[in-house]
Symmetry: C2
Subunit: 209 residues, 2 copies
DNA sequence: ACTCTTACTGACTTGAGAGTTAGTTGTAGC
DNA sequence: GCTACAACTAACTCTCAAGTCAGTAAGAGT
């Protein structure tokens, strides 16, 4: 007699709740936008009552903040690890890094989070600032250091590393926006891994001495 | 006795109203987000009452739609004109087109509109679709045709034109997002014209046979 | 001066959703 | 089994904003 406990699961599971709430919130914030999402709906999707959300999160904004925190932590350390470990010519490292970003864009919910940050950064500057300081502010210099290493060893010709990084990363931003804003309304999906590979090819070729 | 008519300007000016309302709406939508903006505030910034907005626009969504319409019209025709007129090697044309986009990003409110479209495309698919069909759907093929022309004449090596276009345009998307989402919260502004020039340099160099 | 149309407004209705509170239920420890 | 606390909820308050409507005033035509 497996009753509906698997379906409803109305139990007390304080450990699992925050993650479930965050997942539901991300789904709905993404679909309907932050302001337009009702906490009531987040709650019912997460399988509890609205009031319970307030046991775990201070208010609606802190839900969004928690989502951004989680995403930031997950990504930056991985990338900086890849860079620290690497030895030898940097061109393969660039390909590897772009491949990593492409995979995150294609397979994780990072693009949705990025879209949310972009959408809400004016209305919730704390969130925008956090992203700026912890993702962009760490990610861009990381890439920049790779380009600079290439220039220092003579593998690349001397170029402005700041502008070059933006040219390298730009297509990935495009891909993220595309995936979270346009694919859901019917735009044809495109192969992000192929884009990343092509992007790396072009830049590496453009940087030959 | 110049009464406050210059300040309040409470007159009947049906011709000027729509444009004034749209300008006020763009300001506030950009700052606070679409859903979080009160029509009451749009009205008072435009110098009339909320009810008057409904004389000119069906509802709040159609305000946003009108903004996107206006922006789309303004830009695409200019770019396609530039392409149709051009003769000779396409590399200078690419530089010119990127310079044009950079100027729009730096000087017009296009980035704010783009951010709004990105933010609202899920909740208001009509708006996302319109942008997709009329801006992206025309702009990308336009660029693509330029790359293809270069390949056909042997000026460029053969590459996948679709991927290449995205690599070319990506940095401009990054610039737009940066300007509308991050600069207002304190990110250091960057020189978009320089980015466009560098982007064009890199791509043209990468496409040498 | 007097209409009639058009631009416009103030006050309202309606509905919604964030956050709160008082109370209920699961369950760990005895 | 009982107790006490932690997890949870139903039902509430309170504020806020979209959209409406009945009425006011500008100004063109006569």
């Amino acid at each position: 007699m497996t009753d509906q406990s698997e379906i409803t699961a109305r139990k007390r599971r304080p450990e699992a709740r925050p993650a479930e709430i965050l997942e539901a919130a991300l789904d709905l914030f993404t679909e309907r936008g932050f302001k337009a999402t009702r906490l009531e709906d987040v709650a019912s999707r997460a399988g509890l009552s609205k009031a319970a959300i307030y046991l775990y999160f201070k208010d609606k904004t802190s839900l969004l903040m928690a989502l951004v925190h989680a995403m930031a932590e997950a990504n930056i350390d991985l990338a900086s690890g890849m860079i620290a470990q690497h030895e030898g010519p940097v061109a393969p490292l660039l390909r590897q890094l772009l491949g990593f970003i492409a995979a995150r864009i294609a397979q994780s919910r990072m693009p949705d989070l990025m879209k949310l940050v972009i959408s809400e950064s004016r209305a919730h500057p704390e969130i925008g600032r956090f992203y700026l300081d912890n993702v962009i502010g760490k990610g861009l210099p990381l890439f920049q250091s790779v380009i600079e290493r290439g220039i220092a060893t003579g593998e690349f010709r001397p170029v402005d590393p700041r502008l070059t990084v933006k040219c390298l990363v730009g297509p990935m931003v495009l891909a993220a926006v595309w995936k979270s804003a346009f694919e859901p309304i019917g735009a044809e999906p495109f192969d992000i891994a192929a884009l990343a590979a092509h992007d790396a090819d072009l830049i590496i070729r453009a940087l030959q001495p």
